[in-house]
Symmetry: C2
Amino acid sequence: MVTRIPLQLLDCLPKAGAEPLARSTAESMATALKAVADPTRLQILAMIAASKNQESCVCNLTEPLDLTQPTISHHLKKLAEAGLISGERRGTWVWYSLNRERWAQIANLFNG
Amino acid sequence: MVTRIPLQLLDCLPKAGAEPLARSTAESMATALKAVADPTRLQILAMIAASKNQESCVCNLTEPLDLTQPTISHHLKKLAEAGLISGERRGTWVWYSLNRERWAQIANLFNG
DNA sequence: TGAGATTATAGATAAGTATCTATACAGACA
DNA sequence: TGTCTGTATAGATACTTATCTATAATCTCA
């Protein structure tokens, strides 16, 4: 006996080959995007990009953003972990600059 | 009497014109990015994009993603609120498709 | 070496959110 | 109209995280 599939269901069958994005890939992309998806971190990135030599020390970010220094450090750490910025100690200060290659990778998520 | 500024400090002064990104703008951008910055939602977006006519009903998403139907509905709502997808009821099913213009707007955040 | 300045870390707290179960709503069809 | 199917909403819970205060670590310089 043949099971009859109602028309309703047939209309809704997934097309062959519509494989879901691999979970591991999706998680890796989401981690990078989460780092950017925060208003304070977007402001930090904008300020670095607008600074002389496109780099900034922490001291330049704290006052304009009206947040405490540990909070700024927390956000810089998140951005660094996502590979979006790098910090380099020069004397007393730590200078943060954008990682252009990583930035381009994320842009490609949307251009593909 | 002139206050003497130590050399150390001079080295760290922000450059003129390095205005922070307006908070309201940053928050609006972050809202859109937060919608994308979730592995499940990335998978949903990928599945919609890979589907026939680039649209999908909820029933096609639930099983491959191994999540309950209310959870999928929750994510679809988030994506819709961010303007990234739109749902259209056709009979029993609601079909979701990508909003290309909105997608392009987000891509521009990274290409600018 | 010791004092002062800059940055990072630890721990606490409050707010946000991804997920579930239970249930309501909406359309198809017999 | 009543039943079945597909989708949305409500409420609860556990997990994440943005922020703060307090403190440690690191560097400069007198």
